[in-house]
Symmetry: C2
């Protein structure tokens, strides 16, 4: 089983509108609401893939996330405005404040789950009240391989605990290195395997065993929210199945592109996924 951890869960709200014009009033055509947050998206994609997965984290009283440790403050909302031409605009609320007691309760819960997992996925930002080295603590508390997908200080701290793999996008990698990354060269200096996503251009995987680049055969239009989480889901399944690195990368690029074609985070287009799996171009070096 794969364990996903979402410390900053969300209530994802998606609005379909006819146009999006700042300064105007818009009638929302359709409303879609789901429990979200990056680890929840990863778990939803793994479930759609038929992969055994267990999702945990911290969640407020207003979202239905069983087996999450409850916190008092309400879960943050993330609102996505979608127009017919595929433009996605996001508004992300700041996270709720988590108390020291709630964090301690979560650590106990995590200790009961992590030893039973083949792979642990730690995803997303940390809500206020959680220590900046939270991911370091979680990685150090288990011998299970950990995939870390976060940003800024939580990523910088987490690296010191040697996760099995990190999954930055270009912006996160740039913030981590303090300069525009030269890929794949710059990944080596991070000291851990790195799967870096490059948006529509695909991804780069840098490991002690070698380095690979993969790109989808064509651009896919749709809602890119959650595409990175589909990518992480493929990495988690690949590590669980101990697949060769280039196969893991190919699968992750195909699944991520197929997620862009699905209207909401946590889902992918299965027809497109099957098609792209055969067409993704992977190169060593």
């Amino acid at each position: 089983v794969i364990l996903t951890v979402t410390l900053n869960a969300a209530l994802d709200i998606t609005y379909q509108v006819d146009t999006h014009q700042p300064g105007h009033t818009h009638r929302v055509r359709t409303v879609h609401t789901r429990p979200g947050g990056k680890g929840v998206n990863v778990a939803d994609v793994l479930t759609q893939l038929g992969e055994p997965v267990h999702a945990t984290g911290l969640a407020g009283p207003d979202v239905d996330l069983p087996d999450f440790v409850p916190i008092t403050e309400p879960t943050r909302r993330t609102t996505t405005i979608l127009t017919p031409d595929g433009t996605a605009t996001l508004f992300n609320e700041p996270g709720p404040h988590v108390t020291a007691g709630e964090w301690a309760t979560f650590l106990d819960h995590y200790d009961s789950l992590a030893p039973h997992a083949h792979v642990v996925v730690l995803s997303g930002s940390l809500p206020p009240g959680i220590p900046t080295d939270a991911y370091t603590q979680l990685i150090n508390r288990t011998t299970t391989p950990v995939i870390l997908d976060t940003d800024g200080d939580p990523l910088r701290h987490g690296l010191t605990a040697q996760p099995a793999l990190i999954k930055p996008n270009q912006h996160e990698l740039q913030r981590l290195l303090g300069r525009t990354p030269r890929l794949p060269h710059d990944c080596h200096e991070l000291g851990v395997p790195v799967a870096a996503t490059l948006g529509p251009a695909g991804a780069v995987l840098s490991t002690p065993d070698g380095c690979w680049t993969a790109r989808p055969p064509r651009p896919v239009t749709g809602n890119p929210t959650g595409a990175g989480d589909a990518f992480t889901a493929a990495l988690a399944r690949g590590l669980t199945d101990r697949k060769p690195w280039p196969d893991i990368l190919t699968d992750a690029v195909a699944l991520s592109a197929a997620a862009v074609a699905a209207p909401h985070a946590g889902a992918y287009n299965p027809t497109l996924y099957r098609e792209l799996t055969r067409l993704v171009d992977v190169k060593e070096g």
Copy 2:
């Protein structure tokens, strides 16, 4: 006491953001949430004015609106995106479905409240499931003077029941007449007193006793959401106190402009209100 009725209540969410760019991801700086809907805004303004008011309507389980008849489906959200330059962008969800039983329960509740009110205010759109002639029914069930503030078919039907006053804005008046309104001339043909708001240009009041135009001394910048409801609150207080028509109009224009200067619907800037009350220019004809 003034009774306000809100059949399509809302959960008003206001986001302060640094910029608003379609296609981008935005970090929300501050989140403000309040129970809303036009009649709730009217009641909140009347409360701030120190006027006895009773607010009722229909509301889902997710908003705290005491003395509203409960419905099963969740209340619609209205999200306002505010930027530092004062640009307000609104996204309004469609309303929840109301069952025939919920509507019948509301009618009984209304019958118990309306006879005790000096003025009834019927505000806003009708959620799905409510008959289009709902406001006609409510006006016909009471001898209390009714102010009607709605749009489209509910307004067209409601007019046939002869409300004491209607409060369209320019767009609502244009839809009602089927052409660009010539003011005040066109109001006469509607057969009921009309207080038409003209945005920053003020308002026109057309009654069998005469016709008046009033404008604020200068434009006020801020959040115009809820300014029309502050205008209606002043009308309701004016009818309750049996003030002369030009005084009611002056007060409504001043209160409405002072509401633009308040950051959220249902509130006004009291200092600005006192100042504008002396400066609003009212003319007969």
